[in-house]
C-alpha cells in the first residue's frame, strides 16, 4: 500500500522527466528546422570575412560608341589585422613602400576590425608599388582590385560628364545624375575564419563584381571635338571671359555637342576652383538673350498673323518712343522703310517693338511660355536654371517692348536652342537630353533606349517654314552673313546683349551670340554660340559668334554627311565681302571656249588634251569670283 504510493509518484516523476526531455527535443527541432535559415545566415556572417572587389563603373560613350569615360584598373591595399602576426614589421615595411608615417600604418594593422582598408594612402596604387607589396608576401596583407575613373579626352565635355570622388561616387554632371546606373555592384572573395579571425582551410567563395551600366550619349565626339576646338580658339583670339556652344538635333532634342569655357579636367578636378567645376554654363548661366530672342517674337507674330512678312512695312527712324521711354535702333539713324522681312534681316529694334505691340503683352508672353522660357527644360543634368521673365500682370508697354527684342528677360542657352528648334522644326518643343541608351556593360547590348519627348505642337508648319525662310535671309542677306556657307542653306540670328553687372548694364561687356540651323529647308542641326566679353573686336554677335557657328556647321557637314542644297538663297554682298558667282559648266567644251567662259578665274590644267572632261569645283556651285578652277583635259 505504502509502496504503491511511492511507486505512483516515481512513475509521475518519470513521466515529467520524459515530458521535459520531449520539450527540449522540440525546442532543438524548432531551432534546427524553423530558425535554420535565420541562424545559418547570421552564423555565416560571423564565420565569413569578405575581401571586397570593387566593381567597374559603367562607361560613358558617345553616340558612335567612342569612349568618353572609362576605368583603369589599380589596386588597393587591404589588411586583416587578425592575420598579421608581426605588426611592427608589417607596418614598417608597408610605410616604407608607401612613403607614409609608420605610426599611422601601425594603427591600421593593429585596428580591432575584421578587415581594414588603408585609406587613403593605400588606395589606387600604381602597378610598381603594388608589385613591391606583393613581393613581400606578408601575412594578412592583401591587394584587391580597384578601378579608377579615367577621362581619356581630359577637358572635353567635362561639365556634362562630371567627375567622381575617391570611392568612385559621382559628384557632378552625368556621373552624379546617373550615379545609380553607373555604379556597379561590388564583388568579394569570401573566406571563412575562426573566432580569432584566422583564415580557415575552407573553400573560398568568389562573388564576381557586376559592372555598372554603360551610358551612350547623344553627343557626337567628332562634333564635340570641333566645338571644343572652336571655343578654345575664340578664347585665345578674343581673350574672352567665357564661351558657350551647343548643338542639338531639332527633330529629337538630342544634344550633339555641349561645351563651355572655362572648362576643367575631370581627371584632376581637385586642381580647379569649385565655381568652374560646378557651373555647367549652357544650362546654368542666365543672361539677356538680346536679338536671338527676336525669333520668338517673330514666330508668335507670324503664327497669330499680326504681321505680313512680305507686304507689311515698317518705318524705322532710328528710335521709337514707348510710354515716354526712347528705344534706339542699334543702327544710328535707323533703317528707313522696310518690309517685315527686312526688319528681321536688319534685326531692327523699333521694328520688333512694333511687332511686339501687334501681338500685345498677353499673346507675347503666352508664346514665350509655350516655348519653354521661365522654366527648366528638363535636360538630364543637375544644376539647370529657370531664367527670369517679367510677370505678366506687372508688365507695361515698356516691358512688352523690351521683351519683344530680347531685353529685360533672362534665359539660359539651353532654353534658347530648344525654343529655336521648336520654331523651325514644325512647331514641336522637345525636351533636350544627353543620354540616349542604357547599355549592358560587357556586350554593349541595349537595356533601354530613351525616346525623344515632345510636347504639343505650338505653331503650324506654315509658320515654321516662314520662320526658316526669314532666318535664312538673315544669314544670306542680313546680320548673320558671317555664318554663310556656299551651297548650303543656313538660317540663323545674331544676338548682342549687354552684360548686367551689379544690377546695371555694363557699357563695355557684352555677350555675343548666334543661333543657327542647317539645312534651312529641313534642319538637321541647330547650333548656338555665345562669347562673353570678347575683347579687341566690334561688339556684334555677327562678327564674333557667327563665324564660330559657321565653322561648327562646316564640321557638321563632314561628320553628318549633310548634302549641299540646290535652291540656295544667293548671298548679298557688302563691300567687305568677296563676290561669289555660279561656276559655268565647261565640261565637253574645247579649251578655248572654256577659257572664255571662265574669264576672271585662275585656271589650272591637268592632262594635255584639248577637251574639258572634268571641272573642279563642280559646275553650278557658288565659287569666289577669282578662285582657282581645275580643269581635266583629254
Amino acid at each position: 500500500m505504502f509502496y504503491n504510493n511511492i511507486h505512483t509518484r516515481i512513475r509521475y516523476v518519470f513521466l515529467v522527466v520524459l515530458i521535459c526531455l520531449i520539450i527540449c527535443i522540440a525546442k532543438v527541432f524548432y531551432i534546427q528546422v524553423f530558425s535554420y535559415q535565420k541562424l545559418n545566415t547570421l552564423a555565416d556572417a560571423l564565420w565569413s570575412r569578405k575581401l571586397p572587389i570593387m566593381a567597374d563603373r559603367g562607361e560613358i560613350i558617345d553616340r558612335n560608341g567612342k569612349v568618353l569615360a572609362t576605368n583603369i584598373t589599380t589596386t588597393s591595399l587591404v589588411v586583416i589585422p587578425n592575420q598579421i602576426k608581426d605588426k611592427e614589421l608589417t607596418a614598417q615595411k608597408l610605410s616604407e613602400i608607401l612613403g607614409t608615417d609608420y605610426d599611422d600604418m601601425l594603427k591600421h594593422v593593429s585596428k580591432k576590425t575584421s578587415i581594414e582598408r588603408v585609406h587613403p594612402e593605400g588606395r589606387q596604387l600604381s602597378y610598381e608599388v603594388a608589385e613591391k607589396i606583393d613581393n613581400l608576401k606578408l601575412d594578412g596583407v592583401y591587394l584587391v582590385k580597384e578601378s579608377k575613373r579615367y577621362y581619356p579626352y581630359n577637358n572635353l565635355l567635362s561639365h556634362v560628364l562630371g567627375y567622381v570622388g575617391i570611392d568612385n561616387q559621382g559628384l557632378s554632371g552625368l556621373e552624379l545624375y546617373y550615379n545609380d546606373y553607373l555604379t556597379g555592384e561590388d564583388g568579394s572573395i569570401k573566406y571563412f575564419s575562426d573566432g580569432k579571425g584566422h583564415k580557415l582551410e575552407l573553400a573560398e567563395v568568389y562573388e564576381a563584381p557586376t559592372s555598372g551600366i554603360t551610358l551612350q550619349l547623344t553627343i557626337d565626339l567628332d562634333l564635340q571635338l570641333a566645338v571644343e576646338n572652336e571655343l578654345e580658339n575664340a578664347i585665345q583670339k578674343y581673350e574672352a571671359d567665357g564661351a558657350i556652344a551647343l548643338a542639338m538635333n531639332p527633330k529629337t532634342g538630342e544634344i550633339l555637342a555641349m561645351a563651355s569655357r572655362p572648362s576643367f579636367d575631370p581627371n584632376n578636378y581637385q586642381d580647379y576652383n569649385t565655381e568652374i567645376i560646378n557651373r555647367n554654363l549652357p544650362i546654368w548661366m542666365t543672361f539677356e538673350p538680346g536679338s536671338t530672342f527676336k525669333i520668338i517674337t517673330l514666330t508668335a507674330a507670324l503664327e497669330e498673323k499680326t504681321i505680313n512678312l512680305f507686304e507689311g512695312t515698317f518705318h524705322d527712324s532710328g528710335s521709337v518712343n514707348v510710354d515716354g521711354a526712347t528705344i534706339h535702333c542699334w543702327k544710328h539713324g535707323g533703317h528707313g522703310t522696310q518690309t517685315y522681312l527686312e526688319v528681321v534681316e536688319n534685326s531692327c529694334n523699333p521694328g520688333f517693338v512694333n511687332i511686339g505691340f501687334t501681338l500685345g503683352t498677353d499673346k507675347l508672353m503666352e508664346y514665350i511660355n509655350e516655348f519653354g522660357f521661365g522654366k527648366k527644360t528638363g535636360i538630364d543634368l543637375n544644376g539647370e536654371a529657370k531664367g527670369i521673365l517679367f510677370k505678366k500682370e506687372k508688365m507695361g508697354p515698356v516691358e512688352t517692348a523690351t521683351t519683344a527684342f530680347g531685353q529685360g528677360v533672362s534665359v539660359t542657352p539651353i532654353q534658347q536652342i530648344r525654343a529655336v528648334s521648336a520654331a523651325i522644326n514644325g512647331g514641336y518643343l522637345y525636351t533636350p537630353y544627353i543620354v540616349k541608351n542604357f547599355l549592358e556593360s560587357e556586350t554593349k547590348s541595349l537595356i533601354k533606349a530613351i525616346n525623344p519627348t515632345k510636347e504639343k505642337k505650338i505653331i503650324s508648319d506654315e509658320t515654321s517654314s516662314l520662320v526658316r525662310f526669314a532666318l535664312e535671309n538673315v544669314v544670306a542677306k542680313g546680320s548673320g552673313h558671317n555664318a554663310y556657307i556656299e551651297n548650303y542653306r543656313i538660317g540663323g540670328k545674331t544676338g548682342t546683349a549687354q552684360t548686367v553687372e551689379n544690377g546695371i548694364y555694363s557699357s563695355s561687356k557684352y555677350i555675343l551670340s548666334f543661333v543657327g540651323f542647317m539645312p534651312a529647308d529641313d534642319p538637321e542641326i541647330v547650333v548656338y554660340v555665345a562669347i562673353q566679353n570678347a575683347k579687341n573686336v566690334v561688339q556684334y554677335g555677327g562678327t564674333v559668334s557667327a563665324p564660330i557657328a559657321k565653322n561648327i556647321f562646316k564640321s557638321a557637314i563632314d561628320i553628318f554627311d549633310i548634302k549641299p542644297s540646290k535652291d540656295v538663297i544667293p548671298k548679298e554682298y557688302t563691300w567687305l565681302d568677296t563676290k561669289y558667282v555660279i561656276l559655268p559648266d565647261v565640261v565637253n567644251m574645247n579649251l578655248d571656249e572654256a577659257k572664255k567662259a571662265l574669264k576672271g578665274f585662275k585656271l589650272e590644267y591637268s592632262g594635255n588634251g584639248n577637251t574639258v572632261i572634268y571641272e573642279s569645283p563642280k559646275p553650278g556651285s557658288y565659287v569666289k569670283e577669282t578662285s582657282t578652277i581645275t580643269l581635266m583635259l583629254n
Binding site: 509518484r9 520524459l18 527540449c24 532543438v28 534546427q32 547570421l42 552564423a43
Partner: protein, 360 residues
C-alpha cells in the same frame, strides 16, 4: 538473486565512448592552440573513464546496504571537503568559483561527490522516517535544514549549477516519499514570491531574464554564450555538418568540450544526433526507474531513484541551458562533457545502481 542489469552497463559505456569521441572533435583545436596537444582532453577523459569503469564494476559488487550504515560518515566527509575547498591555498579557483582540489594535474570537484553523499543520506533518512514524513515540521524540516547547509556551502564557491542539481534531485526524492502535494505548492509559491521580491529589490535581474529570453539584446555580454550555442545548433539542421566539421568550435564557443558539448553534437550530427542522445538518456533513466521500482528495500528504491534522477536532472538542466530554455547556469552533460569528477561520480552512481539491480 537476479543478475546485474547489463543494459545499463552497455548504454553507459556507449555514452561515455561517444562522449570521448565528441570531446576530441570539440576540443582538439582548442587543445592544440592552448597546450600544443590536440589529444590533451581526450587523454585525461579516457584515464578517468577507465578508472571510473573499474570503480563502477567494483561498486557493483559492494552491497549497497553498507551506504545506509555509513551514510552519516560519508556526509561528514563531504561536509569537510566542501569546507576545505573554500579555503584559499587548498581549494583552487576555476571559472570564477573556488570549487576544485588540484591533484597532480587533475582536478577533483567536492560538490560532485557531495551530490552522492547527500543522495545516500536523504535515501537513508527517508527510509528511517517514512512514518513521520507526512508531518512537515518533524519529518521534512530537519532534512531541509541539512540540505540548506550544503546548498549554502556550494553557493559559497559559488557553483550555482551543481547546487541547483542537488536541491532539485533531493526535493524530487522528498516528493516521492509521500509528502503532501500542498507542501510543494506552498514552497513553489514561496519561491516565486522570493524571485519577485529579488527583482523588485534589484531591477537589473529583470534585464538578466530579458537577456536570456532574447540573447540578441546583449550579444557581446550575457547573450554571448547562448548566441554562439544557437549558431552551432541552428546550422546543424536535420543531419548536421558532419563529424569534425563544427565551425563554432573554432574559438567561437568558449571551451566547447565542457558545458556546450551538446551544441557541438547538434552542429555535427544535427537533429538526428540529438534524438539519439535523448534516447540514450531516456532509456538509461527508464532502466534505473525500473531498478528502483523492483528494489525490495525502501533504501534501495530511494537510492537508485535519487542517483538516476541526479543524472537526468543534470542532463536536462544542461540541455535546457544550451538551447536557450534556461539562463546559463554551468552544469555538465553527464557522460558526454569533459570533466573527471563529473564522469567519476556518474560512473560511481551507476556502480551503486548496478548493485541495487543485482539485489532485486
Amino acid at each position: 538473486m537476479k543478475k546485474i542489469d547489463k543494459k545499463i552497463i552497455f548504454i553507459v559505456i556507449i555514452m561515455a565512448l561517444f562522449g570521448i569521441v565528441m570531446i576530441y572533435s570539440a576540443s582538439s583545436i582548442w587543445a592544440e592552440y592552448r597546450y600544443q596537444d590536440a589529444f590533451k582532453f581526450v587523454k585525461a577523459q579516457s584515464i578517468f573513464f577507465i578508472l571510473g569503469l573499474f570503480i563502477m564494476f567494483f561498486l557493483a559488487k559492494i552491497d549497497y546496504k553498507i551506504y545506509s550504515k555509513k551514510a552519516n560518515m560519508i556526509l561528514f566527509v563531504c561536509f569537510l571537503l566542501l569546507v576545505l575547498v573554500l579555503i584559499p591555498g587548498i581549494g583552487s579557483i576555476r571559472n570564477g568559483s573556488r570549487s576544485w582540489f588540484g591533484l597532480g594535474g587533475f582536478g577533483i570537484q567536492p560538490s560532485e561527490f557531495a551530490k552522492i553523499g547527500l543522495i545516500i543520506y536523504v535515501a537513508k533518512y527517508l527510509e528511517k522516517n517514512n512514518r513521520i514524513m507526512q508531518d512537515i515540521k518533524k519529518g521534512v524540516l530537519p532534512l531541509i535544514l541539512v540540505i540548506g547547509v550544503f546548498f549554502l556551502l556550494i553557493m559559497l564557491e559559488p557553483d550555482f549549477g551543481t547546487a541547483m542539481v542537488i536541491v532539485l534531485t533531493l526535493v524530487i526524492m522528498i516528493f516521492i516519499s509521500g509528502v503532501k502535494l500542498s507542501f510543494f505548492v506552498k514552497v513553489g509559491l514561496l519561491g516565486l514570491l522570493g524571485i519577485v521580491i529579488l527583482i523588485i529589490i534589484a531591477p537589473y535581474r529583470m534585464m538578466r531574464i530579458v537577456a536570456f529570453l532574447n540573447p540578441w539584446s546583449d550579444p557581446l555580454g550575457s547573450g554571448y554564450q547562448i548566441i554562439q550555442s544557437l549558431y552551432a545548433i541552428g546550422p546543424g539542421g536535420i543531419l548536421g555538418q558532419g563529424f569534425l566539421k563544427s565551425r563554432q568550435k573554432q574559438f567561437y564557443l568558449p571551451e566547447p568540450q565542457t558545458d556546450f558539448i551538446f551544441s557541438i553534437i547538434s552542429e555535427e550530427f544535427g537533429f538526428l544526433g540529438i534524438l539519439i542522445i535523448a534516447f540514450f538518456f531516456a532509456y538509461l533513466y527508464y532502466r534505473i526507474i525500473k531498478t528502483s521500482l523492483k528494489s525490495p528495500s525502501l533504501f534501495g528504491k530511494y537510492l537508485a531513484f535519487g542517483l538516476g534522477t541526479g543524472i537526468i536532472v543534470q542532463a536536462l538542466l544542461n540541455i535546457a541551458v544550451v538551447i536557450g530554455l534556461l539562463p546559463v547556469t554551468g552544469v555538465t552533460l553527464p557522460f558526454f562533457s569533459y570533466g573527471g569528477s563529473s564522469l567519476l561520480v556518474s560512473l560511481i552512481s551507476m556502480g551503486i545502481i548496478l548493485n541495487i539491480s543485482k539485489n532485486n
